[in-house]
């Protein structure tokens, strides 16, 4: 399954990536599973992408960890928002 990942806030800075195209295994079909799969990259990834540290969006809508991911989705991973 091919998806686009975009990063904002703390994970963008600490992972030193703002966007990437990835081919994720079929079993990483929810946000929770996708984060777990990305944490396998180790080190700072395992630390930064802990479920409690990040929030997500799918196709520009906030989404929670059980949300399903489809082919060609844009998945955003970011720290809790703080505007205004």
């Amino acid at each position: 399954m091919k998806i686009k990942l975009v990063y904002f806030g703390r994970p963008r800075e600490h992972l030193k990536v703002s966007s990437e195209a990835v081919d994720v295994p079929a079993e990483a079909s929810t946000l929770a599973a996708l984060l777990a799969w990305l944490r396998l990259r180790g080190d700072v990834w395992a630390q930064e992408l802990a479920d409690s540290r990040v929030r997500c969006a799918i196709n520009q809508e906030f989404a929670s960890l059980p949300a399903a991911i489809k082919d060609n989705d844009e998945v955003a991973i970011f720290s809790p928002i703080s505007g205004g």
């Binding site: 904002f8 703390r10 520009q60 955003a76 703080s82 205004g84």
Partner: protein, 155 residues
């Protein structure tokens, strides 16, 4: 109704003039301007840095504005949010509303800034002498947003 996300500063007087231009039904205009403070957790802030999610941020703000407009019959709304590097006393955000009467203009403006704080994707990093830190959603902001759930005006 319009949303602008920009690095440059805004001119409050010019924005307000434009917001009510050509509509003599407007009986009330309310504006909120958020400013950069120079302190946080007893540390002096040297600067802050703001980023956003192009397309999602505008979408989220428009949704908030639509809800406020319906709920309080707002005539016009302007939201400007700055991004990039800002220093103490800089203007960060403008929310301005017009309505027939002050009650609607006040409530609509407050609703929009309360929701912006908790539902619009912006990320703020504070730079102090000891380092930098990404801020997280404040519990007090979530509380302010949630109080609107119990307010049934216009619902």
């Amino acid at each position: 109704m319009s949303v602008l996300i920009q690095e440059v500063d805004f001119d409050l007087a010019a924005e307000l003039l434009a917001l009510r231009a050509g509509n003599s039904r407007v009986g009330a205009m309310v504006s909120f301007v958020g400013l950069v403070r120079d302190f946080s957790h007893d540390e002096t802030i040297e600067s802050i840095y703001l980023e956003y999610y192009p397309s999602m941020t505008e979408k989220a703000l428009n949704k908030i504005i639509d809800e406020a407009t319906t709920r309080w019959n707002l005539i016009n709304v302007r939201v400007i949010h700055r991004i990039g590097q800002l220093i103490a006393s800089d203007q960060i955000v403008l929310v301005a509303t017009t309505a027939l009467h002050r009650g609607e203009a006040f409530a609509g403006c407050e609703f929009i800034i309360d929701y912006l704080k908790t539902a619009a994707p912006f990320w703020k990093k504070e730079q102090t002498k000891v380092g930098s830190e990404w801020l997280e959603t404040r519990a007090s902001d979530v509380k302010r947003m949630e109080h609107w759930h119990n307010d049934t005006t216009g619902k």
